[in-house]
């Protein structure tokens, strides 16, 4: 036999034997193939800290289902690969998880750039993808996808909740401090429109490149501009560095600061004053609502010895998103993507179930979870060291809906979306 022929036969044998071995093993054991969920969370880069919390939230939901016997009689396995807060890595990870690891679903997204990249790959294959924590309005607007569901409040929701009141209380002259990437751009765009609509004026906008560590020139420029309100759309490590420098110069007392959304991990462990200005969030661990105490206790029991002693909004989103996905699989009785998408579109979730103040729903047109938005500031009378937020008000989801998203969102039809099932 020729050597080339032999190699060809060996290659063909290996190609057949690989998948056969895997499936054959499950068949022999009389068990169903595990349901693999791909967790596309950042573990490094600008959103590494928040991504880690989000992943733990998803893991806790998966653990709960496994304790009940999994879904559809299948054990659930989680596969996590670090997306590094880098869109190119997000694409690569999603592609690999779908084509090589045969994941049934993808969950995870902190950076909107990464979430958008993952969403494109997911749509190509028809894999249902949950963007659990990224907040650019484009995620449920221009970049919406049939397979993608957005679980966090977005920049427009938060701006809707804050801007009008801030103009009334603090003044009409605004300066924008904007992280120079998709989330920052779109959040600032929404803020600018709302400022103008409510009779305010944007005197200037300073773009903050991602990776900025020194904010001294921005802070000097703000002093030259003399705005009444500074609306910052700066996230992750950039925000942490900025906060540190704002606190050092006491500029938090010089202007009114509006910090669109504040992730728990970005201020955790730094004392109440680190959460300066007014900001939005979707959940707080000290809500006096049914289920919150038990949820917090469960977090502590499941992940003992964690540096972050109490769960925050990113953990919460990771948890509720994963739990809802698995519920939909149970209800649909299948992992077929179209069946799951139909279960999710227009889905209603009670306030009690979600541990928020108002019922939530998934907009069938934009695929964004419409939920209660909370306004908060730093807590000057903390009941315990972690009690760093003082929740000022809550806004019902209907009052903060992004009106432009349905017009911008053009998603593929069911027929155009590839059928996918694992």
């Amino acid at each position: 036999m020729q050597r080339r022929k032999l190699l060809q036969m060996l290659a063909a044998g290996a190609a057949f034997y690989g998948p056969w071995k895997v499936h054959h093993a499950w068949a022999q054991a009389g068990q169903k193939k595990p349901l693999v969920i791909g967790l596309t969370m950042d573990a490094s880069g600008q959103f590494g800290a928040s991504g880690t919390s989000e992943r733990l939230g998803a893991m806790m939901a998966i653990r709960e289902f496994n304790e009940k016997g999994g879904v559809l009689g299948r054990h659930i396995e989680a596969l996590h690969i670090d997306t590094e807060t880098t869109p190119a890595t997000g694409s690569r990870v999603a592609e690999r998880m779908i084509t090589r690891n045969e994941v049934a679903f993808l969950i995870g997204g902190l950076s909107s750039g990464v979430a958008n990249a993952i969403g494109q790959v997911a749509q190509k294959y028809g894999v249902v993808y949950f963007n659990s924590n990224s907040s650019s309005p484009t995620e449920s607007g221009r970049d919406c996808k049939r397979v993608k569901f957005v679980w966090d409040g977005n920049g427009t929701n938060f701006a809707q909740a804050i801007v009008k009141n801030a103009i009334k209380v603090n003044g009409a002259n605004w300066a924008l401090l904007t992280n120079d990437y998709i989330w920052g751009h779109n959040t600032s765009k929404a803020t600018r429109e709302l400022v103008v609509k409510n009779g305010g004026r944007v005197i200037d906008e300073l773009m903050v490149p991602q990776g900025t560590r020194d904010f001294s020139s921005f802070l000097l420029k703000l002093q030259q501009m003399k705005p009444q309100v500074v609306a910052a759309a700066v996230g992750g490590d950039d925000f942490r560095a900025m906060r540190q420098q704002v606190m050092q110069t006491k500029l938090d007392r010089q202007f009114a600061w509006v910090n669109n959304q504040q992730d728990w991990e970005d201020v955790y462990g730094l004392g109440a004053e680190a959460a300066f200005g007014v900001f939005g969030t979707t959940w707080y661990y000290r809500f006096d609502l049914p289920g919150v105490k038990e949820f917090v206790e469960k977090y502590k029991k499941t992940f003992p010895g964690m540096q972050v002693k109490n769960p925050g909004n990113t953990f919460y989103n990771g948890y509720v998103a994963t739990r809802e996905l698995l519920r939909c699989v149970e209800e649909a009785g299948t992992t077929n993507n179209i069946a799951i998408i139909k279960k999710l579109e227009g889905r209603k979730m009670s306030a009690r179930d979600r541990m928020q103040h108002h019922d939530a729903w998934i907009d069938p047109v934009t695929h964004q979870c419409q939920q209660t938005i909370y306004m908060a500031t730093y807590n000057d009378k903390p009941a315990e060291p972690d009690d760093i937020f003082k929740v000022l008000s809550q806004v019902a989801p209907a009052d903060v809906v992004d009106p432009d998203a349905p017009k911008a969102c053009k998603m593929a039809s069911y027929q155009e979306t590839p059928s996918y099932e694992q």
Binding site: P209, R213, S217, K250
Partner: protein, 295 residues
């Protein structure tokens, strides 16, 4: 000009901090011809050691703890640096890629060790009250700490310069950078000299980490933010040139600060554009020596 002045002054203070970051890197590249990619991780380790020392219950005030952290953390990092130099010995005289790969690997290991020991969350380096807070300069609110950091950078630059120029050991280091074989032929223990230079370079990285910690914050991957400007500054200043690194650092600080104020989206990119512009016309950097090909 009225508008520009505060940004120029801010740029100089920022530049001094950049120069401080680059000094240790420059020393190791200059003497040992090793690009130490672990410089950033050692920078981060210095900040973490300082946070650890500040957190110890020593029964003394915050000023004394800060002083202890400032002195002891660089010593701890220097010991780590010496360990790294031991590991590097087998790469001397071989393809430079080996040293590059080894220090890159060390950077990853140090960063992961930091994660394992201190966790991935943010840490804060407490400051004595006299160093924190704000002050008014020319009608602008400025952080007191930034002035302290700039002063600390000037002090360290001067001390290092005096050490290199005015002490016999400094003369040996400079000679080692110029012609290591000749230094060995003169009976100087080159192995010990290299060990000392590596320890000094890594201790300087730690000092920079401690000084920058209250401005940049303390995270396991904060070193990545330090190693890139350090590399850029020594190329810009001319590899091995002490004053080249200092002047390039100040130049980068001014460019970043001024673009931050007037074309903010270019503030990070500006340092790279500066490098491209300079290297295009002067490949050896500001104060780099001419190569044989240029003579």
């Amino acid at each position: 000009m009225v508008d520009l002045t505060p940004h120029l002054l801010n740029g100089i203070s920022l530049g001094l901090m950049f120069a401080l970051i680059a000094l240790g890197f420059m020393l190791i590249v200059g003497v040992m011809e090793v690009i130490n990619l672990a410089h950033g991780s050692l920078f981060a380790l210095g900040a973490y050691f300082a946070v650890f020392i500040m957190g110890l219950n020593l029964g003394v005030g915050i000023e004394a703890r800060y002083a202890a952290a400032f002195l002891l953390a660089p010593v701890g990092v220097a010991l780590v640096g010496m360990g790294l130099e031991f590991a590097m010995r087998r790469t001397y005289g071989k393809d430079p890629l080996y040293g590059l790969l080894l220090t890159f690997g060390a950077a990853l290991v140090i960063e992961e060790l930091i994660r394992l020991i201190w966790g991935s969350g943010e840490k804060q380096l407490s400051l004595p009250p006299d160093l924190s807070g704000a002050m008014l300069i020319g009608g602008f609110i400025y952080a007191k700490y930034r002035l302290y950091a700039a002063a600390a950078a000037i002090g360290l630059i001067v001390l290092l310069w005096l050490f290199l120029e005015k002490t016999p050991y400094g003369a040996m280091i400079k000679a080692g950078a110029h012609d290591s074989e000749m230094v060995r032929a003169l009976g100087i223990n080159l192995t010990r000299l290299r060990l000392f230079v590596f320890a000094l370079g890594t201790a300087l990285a730690a000092v920079a980490g401690i000084v920058l910690a209250p401005i940049w914050g303390v995270r396991p991957h904060v070193g990545v933010d330090a190693v890139v400007p350090a590399f850029l500054i020594i190329v810009l200043g001319g590899v091995g040139s002490f004053w080249g690194a200092v002047i390039a650092g100040i130049l980068v600080g001014i460019v970043v600060a001024v673009t931050g104020a007037y074309a903010s989206e270019w503030s990070l990119m500006s340092m790279y554009l500066l490098l491209i512009a300079l290297v295009t016309f002067r490949a050896r950097g500001l104060f780099g020596k001419k190569t044989a090909l240029e003579n």
